[in-house]
Amino acid sequence: MQVLTILLDGISYGMVLFIISVGLTVTMGLMRVVNLAHGAFAMIGGYIATVLVLQAGVPFLLSALLAAVAAGALGGLAELTVYRPLYRKGELPQVLLTIGLCFVVIAGLTLFVGPTPLPAIVPPSLDRMVDIGFRSYPAYRLFLIVVGALLAFIVWLIVECSLFGARLRAAVDDPQMARAVGMNVNRMFTVTFIGGCALAGFGGAIGAGVLPLEPFYALRYLVYFLIVVAVGGMGSFRGSLVAALAIGIVDTAGRYIVPQFGGFLLYVLVFGLLLWRPNGLLPPKSVA
């Protein structure tokens, strides 16, 4: 039965990683930008939702949605102002500017909210155990799995079944050709960036019970988000879901079974995997 517990813990954790990272896979795959500030948008979402719940008494889900809207809006603003000039620059400027953005967000949020870790906002309706047959299990984690699966389905619908999604996939596979046939790739960048940041903000808000909010959140969990993107294959939506779930399960299992190694196991696996398949598990056609 312990196996099932690890699996459930891992999947709920992986779902949070997926919700936050799926936007990053787009930025890095479509726009070819090394975006280290993605965690900052998740952090913004988490902080806004927590403050709304604790200070204004806004309901949990509503505050998470508001946080998503705010993170999306700020993401759009950032895309138009600081990201756009980055597309034509090298990796180093991209790394540095996005680290700078990370620093500004960390400092800004800390100056407004304070330098202590924030308590996880889990509403009373989710802060209890549910009987799932063989044992009782936290409702909050089941909620994460359901929401994650729902969002994955919606993202899949948009990417695979809509005209916008078809264009997006085309642009990921061959941006030059997409421009040549008259697609407005720049506008697509902005729209997807807003969407990705909104998802990150939402994930940061509802996932605060799994990834606790603290001043260095944007950097501490960044490695995980980047791993999801790199392992899944940059720009690959299916890949990011598979990678997020795998990483959630592997990391959870590692910490359960060999706690003395901590995150060691995960990093070694990621290292080996990237040496074996430098473009990730399920890379999009352009790089495969």
Binding site: G100, A107, P115, I227, L275
Partner: protein, 343 residues
């Protein structure tokens, strides 16, 4: 992802630097060392801060070799800084407390780690390489965190003893000896770095950074050149780590953090990459800003540095050295693009 044409122009003009005869402008090269020596005599009470600056300059300089000159995109350079620091600390505790010996051992350990990891990862490029460097630093961090018996885990490594340098100069309470010691090590590494980047080897790395395919086509052993530069850079970062271990007598897990890798990149770009002195300016300003703003609130310096980074990337490519260059060029009445001090 091509590199900025503006900086490559400077590289085209740079080769003359190695062969030109004496000119008064070369006296500028004495400036940083003169400032450091003056500081040694007047900077009472600030010598440990000064040592910290020297250490970070060395660390940033090492990153300049790998990232600036060889174009190896890395976010894991703290791995070698931390490895050097831990190696020096562990060597001093368990084997021999001689600082110079410890420094050499730490440099060798970090260089060897750089060689091995470099051989593994330098086949890849771009984002994959970035992730691999991140993963290496994360692995080192986890090892240091969990090998408590050796590294002290998250309590840090303490109890490091240091005997007098060459048996003559004791490490005093005010950090004066440590300052001069660090300055000497920095000077040696600076000479090596300046020599290497001007050598044919350094030139070939310029070429690799600008056009890998062409370099491969003309027969340059690209992978080996990258590995060699990476290992040299790692050894240098290891020296910096050893200096911090010996001067503070403490090694913490923070030496291996992602934040440390990020900060050193920030220092480098703040000063201006691929010009050696950029590391001097960037590290000095960063540490001083951190020390003054950090005494008010650690988050104010983060805000300042973050904002500065965004401005530099968007408006002042080439960092503070680039700004100085264009000001000098204006004063001399030349156009900005044609100068660029070749260092």
């Amino acid at each position: 992802m091509t590199s900025q044409p503006q900086v490559t122009d400077q590289q085209v003009f740079a080769p003359t630097a190695g062969v030109r005869s004496f000119s008064p402008a070369m006296l500028w090269h004495l400036l940083p060392w003169a400032i450091a020596l003056v500081f040694f005599f007047v900077g009472d009470g600030y010598h440990s801060l000064g040592t910290n600056i020297l250490v970070m300059i060395l660390f940033a300089l090492s990153l300049d070799l790998a990232l600036g000159y060889a174009g190896i995109i890395t976010l894991g350079h703290a791995a070698f800084f931390g490895a050097g620091a831990y190696a020096a600390g562990i060597f001093a505790i368990h084997f021999n407390a001689d600082p110079v010996l410890g420094l050499l051992v730490a440099t060798a350990v970090a260089g060897l780690l750089g060689l091995i990891t470099g051989m593994l990862i330098l086949h890849t490029r771009g984002e994959t390489l970035l992730m691999l460097t991140l993963a290496i630093a994360a692995i080192f961090y986890e090892v240091a965190n969990h090998a408590r018996w050796l590294t002290g885990g998250d309590d840090g490594l303490s109890g490091i003893r240091v005997t007098p340098v060459f048996g003559l100069f004791r490490f005093d309470l005010w950090g004066k000896t440590a300052f001069l010691y660090a300055l000497a090590v920095l000077f040696i590494w600076f000479v090596i770095a300046a020599f290497v980047v001007r050598s044919p080897f350094g030139r070939s790395l310029d070429g690799i950074r600008q056009n890998t395919k062409r370099m491969r086509a003309i027969g340059t052993p690209v992978w080996w050149r990258l590995v060699a530069m990476y290992a040299l850079s790692a050894a240098m970062a290891g020296s910096a780590g050893a200096l911090t271990a010996q001067s503070t007598r403490l090694v913490g897990l923070s030496t291996l953090e992602l934040l440390t890798s990020g900060i050193v990149a920030v220092m480098l770009v703040l000063g201006g990459e691929r010009r050696l002195y950029g590391a001097f300016i960037g590290a000095t300003i960063y540490v001083i800003v951190q020390d003054t703003a950090g005494s008010i609130s650690p988050f104010i310096w983060m805000f300042v540095i973050g904002f500065l980074l965004i401005l530099i990337v968007l408006f002042f490519e080439g960092g503070l050295m680039g700004i100085i260059d264009s000001v000098v060029a204006k004063l001399k009445g030349k156009t900005a693009g044609q100068t660029g001090k070749p260092t």
